[in-house]
């Protein structure tokens, strides 16, 4: 009995210490923005709004958050649209070497948005006149995310029995009607997954926008964070913490919204 109690106490202590380790940065993130001269320590804030005023006054901070929204929403929209079409086709049409194609795409995709392809991508963007263009960046990010998105979505489509579509076909539905009335509603949880995943990916992406967008007015929040220094060249902790808090809120909201709507249980009302 004593052994059991001691064991429980030891286990709980260990968990508490581990949790504290991960909680501290989060605590810092919610307290520092409301503290007058934040340091790396977590302190009880004096509830000032000065830091927020400073962020609002910063010429590029708030616009950069908007840029992040534009980039991630644009990329998510393209990824969902293209991945849905590709996954549907790949799931329903038998192609020789289909699986090999999918795995090759998946393998190569980690290179596209990775560091290995930095130089060729940059050159390609220059040749295509897509440097310093948010649209160009969206295209490149989409290209990087598509293979994995297709791969994930194909699983959702594979799990949907074909008899739904065949049934609609016999009733005379056109291919476009079948997709609109039957396929999209059935794989909607899959589409939501892909969209969330794409937004989260683009929201946190630093390298690609840093490389391809030189105009500071077009840069997203991830890049602007990198420029928040004091005149002395030190990290501007009051700006960084406040901006960081604002930067993370949309992602948290998105999670809460999607979790409420789909519960992150990707069942989709399919009767197996």
């Amino acid at each position: 009995m004593t052994r059991f109690v001691l064991g429980r106490i030891g286990f709980s202590t260990l968990v508490a210490v581990l949790l504290a380790f991960f909680t501290l940065p989060l605590l810092w993130l919610v307290t520092a923005p409301f503290t007058s001269n934040p340091t790396y320590e977590v302190t009880v804030p004096d509830f000032t709004w000065d830091n927020f005023a400073a962020v609002v006054e910063h010429p590029y901070a708030l616009p950069s958050l908007w840029n992040s929204v534009v980039l991630s929403a644009g990329t998510a929209a393209l990824v969902v649209a293209f991945a849905a079409l590709a996954a549907y086709a790949l799931s329903r049409v038998r192609l020789p070497g289909r699986d090999a194609l999918l795995y090759a795409l998946l393998l190569l995709s980690s290179i596209i948005t990775g560091t290995a392809a930095m130089v060729p991508l940059f050159q390609l963007a220059v040749e295509l006149n897509l440097i310093d263009s948010q649209f160009g960046l969206i295209l490149i990010l989409t290209g990087g995310l598509l293979p994995a998105a297709i791969f994930m979505l194909k699983d959702f489509v594979d799990a949907t029995p074909q008899s739904y579509e065949e049934s609609a076909r016999v009733f005379g539905a056109s291919p476009l009607q079948i997709v609109r009335h039957v396929v999209v509603p059935l794989v909607r949880p899959g589409l939501a997954t892909i969209a969330v995943w794409a937004v989260a990916n683009v929201w946190g992406n630093f390298l690609m926008p840093y490389l391809l967008l030189s105009d500071v007015r077009k840069q997203p929040a991830a890049v602007i964070t990198y420029t928040l220094y004091t005149e002395g060249g030190q990290a501007n902790l009051s700006m960084l913490s406040t901006f960081g808090l604002l930067y993370s809120i949309p992602v948290v909201l998105m999670y809460l919204f999607v979790s409420k709507k789909y519960g992150f249980r990707f069942h989709g009302g399919i009767k197996r």
Binding site: Y164, H181, G268, G269
Partner: protein
């Protein structure tokens, strides 16, 4: 409503598998027609080819006298019930039933009224707002039927309509389906692997094996006079006795016993022919006393069928089965004698009925 006609219909899959081999079949207007066969015999492929979900490799499909071989499924004016019913899980019962009308661009009010009318007929009126996931198997089946009825198509195609129901419900649904088809009078083709289902429901049926139709006929014809040993072995809840034998003068020698030539085969066999003697266990008269023209042996197994017993005799190393009414069943090890009914026994030569 329309007749369905198949002319030399073939389907060869890309791998070279010949699923349908030059089938000819005419299903008259208003008939309830069963496609029966073991799994992999091509019956579902045939149904899907009629629906247009599979394209024919050769031959043609005519529905109501119109050649629809190259027509898309939607243009054939047929309606299909799938094995898993394929009810759209994101639509309620009303929208599911009204879906074919939505495709035909019927106004919303009109199609909801039609859905309500059809549903009321099938006793679904209190379920209109449910999703398929909230319905029992039997209810789902009736929604699928209601959706088909709402199309007012010329012919209905059912793919294993009863296989997703439990045993008791299946019997109920069988009666219900037959009555409904009779009332609607729409040409209906259904696929089943269950011979009892085909016998019970169909006006006529086709027994298929390996892409070929082995026999077409009414349930009574197929049950009483199977055209070949395949059909003979496939039809019947207790399998038919198929015993190797030969013709000896004007009698048959089967499993060491002398039997008279059955009425149907009289004068059509000649001395020395190698034959297969077929008789259903239901058409055997069992007795404990030796009898003229009997298959005699030791009782090996007695199986209880409820109102009767299935007795298996070991006749010179060959199993012979006979159905014995309750009360008269022997004990295992008894000497038994089974006399085939002469007007029901059949003779097959080279696999075909003589």
């Amino acid at each position: 409503m329309a007749a369905i006609e198949l002319r030399g219909l073939s389907k060869v899959y890309p791998g070279g598998v010949r699923a349908l081999d030059a089938l000819d079949l005419v299903i008259p207007d208003g008939e309830f027609f069963a496609l029966l066969g073991p799994s992999g015999c091509g019956k579902t492929t045939l149904l899907r080819t009629i629906a247009g979900l599979e394209s024919a490799t050769g031959g043609s499909v005519l529905i109501g006298g119109r050649d629809v071989t190259g027509t898309q499924p939607g243009g054939r004016d047929v309606a299909m019930v799938f094995q898993d019913y394929a009810l759209f899980p994101h639509m309620d019962v009303t929208d599911n039933i009204a879906y074919p009308l939505r495709i035909k661009k019927v106004a919303k009010g009109a199609r909801r009224a039609k859905a309500a009318e059809v549903a009321a007929r099938l006793g679904l009126d209190h379920l209109m707002d449910r999703r398929p996931g909230q319905l029992s198997g039997g209810q789902q089946q009736r929604v699928a039927l209601a959706r088909v009825m709402a199309t007012q198509a010329q012919a209905y195609l059912f793919d294993e309509p009863l296989s997703n129901l439990d045993a008791r419900l299946r019997l109920e649904a069988r009666t219900f389906l037959k009555k409904l088809q009779r009332e609607l009078g729409v040409t209906t083709v259904f696929v089943t692997h269950d011979q009892a289902e085909a016998l019970a429901m169909a006006d006529r049926m086709a027994v298929m094996e390996a892409g070929h139709i082995r026999q077409i006929g009414t349930p009574a014809e197929v049950f009483q006079r199977p055209a070949n040993t395949f059909v003979a072995g496939f039809i019947g809840s207790t399998p038919m006795n198929l015993l190797d034998g030969s013709v000896r003068g004007d009698t048959l020698e089967v499993a060491g016993c002398k039997l008279p030539v059955p009425a149907a085969a009289e004068g059509r066999v000649s001395d020395g022919d190698t034959i297969v003697y077929g008789v259903r266990p239901e058409y055997m008269t069992y007795s404990a006393e030796p009898a003229e023209g009997a298959l005699s042996g030791k009782v090996a197994i007695v199986e209880n069928l409820g109102a009767s017993h299935l007795v298996t005799l070991d006749v010179a190393g060959v199993n012979v089965q006979a159905v014995v009414p309750e009360g008269g069943e022997p004990a295992v090890g008894d000497e038994g004698h089974a006399v085939p009914r002469r007007d029901r026994a059949l003779v097959y030569r080279d696999g075909a009925l003589v």
